[in-house]
């Protein structure tokens, strides 16, 4: 375990294939909602992330899926220390992210990168592509002069933007969505990170373009042994790209495990609902009936019992009183549901 605050500059120091690179321990992020002048009661917080624990082994890809409002975007920002948790902690390569500051934080920023959802807003509109790709080098004082230009060209080539020189002087508004997303990926790779969080990386791209960006991300992650996290609402995308899948609901983990297990044999009733509702590009596939009401409650105020109790077809009395813990339902496969508790 590295000392907290130790400068995180060395790539070799990070545990990779054998250990877990990122560990979340009972992470909570509550957002205060302004109510009155006289302090806040328990009912005045929005539970963005409500007690989430998981570990990401180095070199693997984790898909975090769920509907809007489930907390996946908030969790992504917590993993990158754009937000700090109100409780719990996130440990990156053995160091609690909350203890980082100054040079140590800058070191972390070199190791963990982000791809944003909207390609048209990912690059500063006043920068040329070349300048945008130089920014990480400038911030971290990597290379100098001609060497920086070489790195920029190498990065553009690696994301299949040919010929690289032609893109250097272009502005973001001159590029297509797919090209911009590739530039965003190239920029993230400029600092040679070991961890990449991609927030809905292809949801705003045309369908025929998505496959290209996804294939590229898969290939690069494999060749660089990147640990990746994909945030997505699209289960078919998660199934295509990720080794592990985590389903979130109202700020909690509903189910987590190897992707094939979770999506082909879902155990948690919510996962089952999502899988049943997911549209399939096959007209002969019989669309299942879904009984669950579509209304997702807003997580304000203290939590009681299972978050899914209002919509669950298998709800039991215990679901109203006790929050279900994550229990094993298969090898490395866990679900937070009373149905699978050993005592039942």
């Amino acid at each position: 375990m590295a000392r907290p605050g130790a400068v995180m500059a060395s790539r070799a120091a990070a545990p990779r294939i054998d250990g877990s690179l990122v560990v979340a321990e009972a992470v909570q992020k509550y957002f205060p909602i302004r109510r009155g002048l006289f302090g806040r009661g328990a009912g005045d917080y929005l539970r963005g992330v409500d007690g989430v624990s998981f570990a990401i082994p180095g070199g693997t890809s984790l898909g975090i899926a769920g509907e809007s409002g489930c907390g996946k975007t908030t969790l992504a920002r917590l993993l990158l220390r754009l937000l700090t948790p109100t409780a719990g902690r996130i440990v990156f390569a053995g160091v609690d992210l909350g203890t980082l500051d100054g040079a140590a934080l800058l070191g972390f920023r070199r190791q963990a990168q982000l791809m944003v959802q909207n390609p048209y807003e990912a690059i500063n509109p006043r920068f040329t592509i070349g300048r945008a790709l130089m920014e990480p080098l400038i911030i971290h004082r990597i290379g100098a002069g001609e060497d920086r230009l070489d790195r920029v060209i190498a990065a553009l080539t690696q994301v299949n933007l040919h010929p690289a020189e032609a893109f250097l002087d272009k502005f973001p508004h001159q590029l297509s969505g797919g090209q911009l997303q590739r530039v965003g990926l190239a920029r993230a790779l400029m600092v040679d990170p070991i961890f990449l969080v991609a927030d809905e990386p292809v949801s705003m791209l045309d369908v025929s373009v998505r496959a290209g960006v996804l294939n590229l991300m898969k290939a690069i992650a494999r060749s660089r042994q990147l640990t990746t996290v994909y945030i997505s609402h699209d289960l078919s995308l998660v199934r295509y790209v990720c080794d592990t899948t985590m389903i979130m609901y109202l700020g909690t983990v509903a189910e987590i495990g190897p992707t094939d297990a979770v999506l082909a044999h879902p155990k948690h009733p919510y996962t089952q609902l999502l899988v049943a509702a997911a549209p399939v590009p096959d007209p002969t596939y019989p669309v299942p009936e879904i009984a669950a009401p579509e209304q997702v409650p807003t997580p304000i105020g203290p939590a009681h019992g299972c978050p899914f109790k209002d919509r669950c077809p298998h709800v039991m009395p215990v679901c109203h009183t006790t929050t279900p813990p994550l229990v094993f339902v298969g090898p490395k496969h866990q679900a937070a549901c009373h149905l699978y508790e050993p005592t039942h």
Binding site: L214, D234, R239
Partner: protein
């Protein structure tokens, strides 16, 4: 029985850089009581086509030719006051991001009231009764009529937009990306409701989307659009099982399937042509793995290959063989300029 027949429709946009033909010679039929899917990617002209049918094009756009025959009347040639009699009464539209198109300063009930009394010329009591009826029809809680749009979820607002379109019992509805911004469970419910409405009200629906899984789940027939032209038409099951146009094959290749994760996704490289100066031949030829010399000079017409099955491809007869080759990833690596 064709409710709507579009013949050689051309719609142009006048921009500062010149004239773009967003819809270039489209022939399409919508039958009574069917859900027709119109699928294509951004810029293919599908939204423009929908808006041209109901004649709500922006000021710098105009119908440059062709006919839109609805029950024998050419809507394209109608003067505006007459077209207003068709709009909302015979043909209605659920526009893109409809849930954001509700007026934020009026309650839902008031917006229903306005459509029903002003356009529909119903009396007050009749309008109120109809508003309640519409809520039940789309699955919206009646109490929501008292709410403002921002108090409702995305799914509820979308249902409200659909209800407004159905207000005067039109025979045809144009739904432009009706479920794109919604969560998957809501999407499922709304699409199912749309299909039920089709049966209950003997309604015809044209569903415009970029998502082929929505088409697979909801539409009886489908039309694929690319760069302003229709490239393939047919029954949904037929088009999915045996696509005849390389673009349709490419779309299928690039679309992830939750049930078939092991298949490699193959993107279509390149980008659609600039419609200011479209290429002389087939518009898909620069990106097509099966293009031959003829494709670059001769624009293929949409021809009927079997009853109800049309494709705009010179090599459509070889479709069975091409389909097998389409699964080979390296064929799609065409030189990108």
């Amino acid at each position: 029985m064709a409710l709507l027949t579009i013949e050689d429709l051309r719609v142009e946009y006048r921009t500062s850089r010149g004239v773009t033909r967003a819809v270039d010679g489209v022939n399409l039929e919508v039958h009574e009581g069917e859900v027709l899917g119109l699928v294509g990617e951004s810029g293919c002209g599908k939204t423009t086509l929908g808006r041209a049918i109901i004649r709500v094009l922006p000021r710098n756009a105009g119908i440059a030719g062709g006919r839109i025959l609805f029950d024998g009347t050419d809507l394209a040639a109608l003067p505006e006051p007459e077209m207003a009699r068709y709009r909302w009464r015979e043909i209605a539209m659920v526009p893109q991001a409809a849930m954001d198109s509700l007026d934020p300063v009026y309650r839902l009930g008031d917006q229903f009231h306005e459509v029903l009394t002003i356009t529909g010329r119903l009396a007050r009591a009749a309008a109120r009764a109809r508003a309640l009826e519409l809520c039940d029809l789309v699955g919206l809680d009646r109490r929501r009529l008292a709410a403002y749009p921002h108090e409702l979820s995305g799914g509820m607002r979308q249902r409200a937009a659909i209800a407004l379109a159905l207000a005067l019992s039109p025979r045809l509805i144009l739904a432009d990306e009706p479920v794109t911004a919604l969560d998957v469970v809501v999407q499922h419910h709304i699409l199912r409701r749309l299909r039920q409405l089709r049966a209950e009200l003997s309604l015809s629906v044209v569903l415009v989307t970029h998502d082929i899984s929505v088409i697979a789940q909801t539409c009886d027939r489908m039309a694929v659009m690319y760069a302003g032209k229709i490239v393939e038409v047919g029954r949904t099951v037929d088009v999915f099982a045996r696509p005849q146009h390389p673009y349709t094959m490419g779309l299928q290749n690039s679309f992830p399937n939750l049930l078939r994760p092991q298949e490699m996704l193959i993107p279509i490289e390149g980008a659609p042509p600039d419609l200011l100066t479209p290429p002389p031949g087939c518009r898909f030829a620069p990106r097509c793995p099966f293009a031959v010399d003829r494709c670059l000079v001769d624009s293929p017409a949409l021809r009927e290959l079997a009853p109800g099955r049309c494709a705009a491809c010179h090599r459509a007869e070889e479709a069975d063989v091409l389909r097998l080759h389409a699964r080979e990833a390296q064929r799609w690596r065409v030189p990108v300029l």
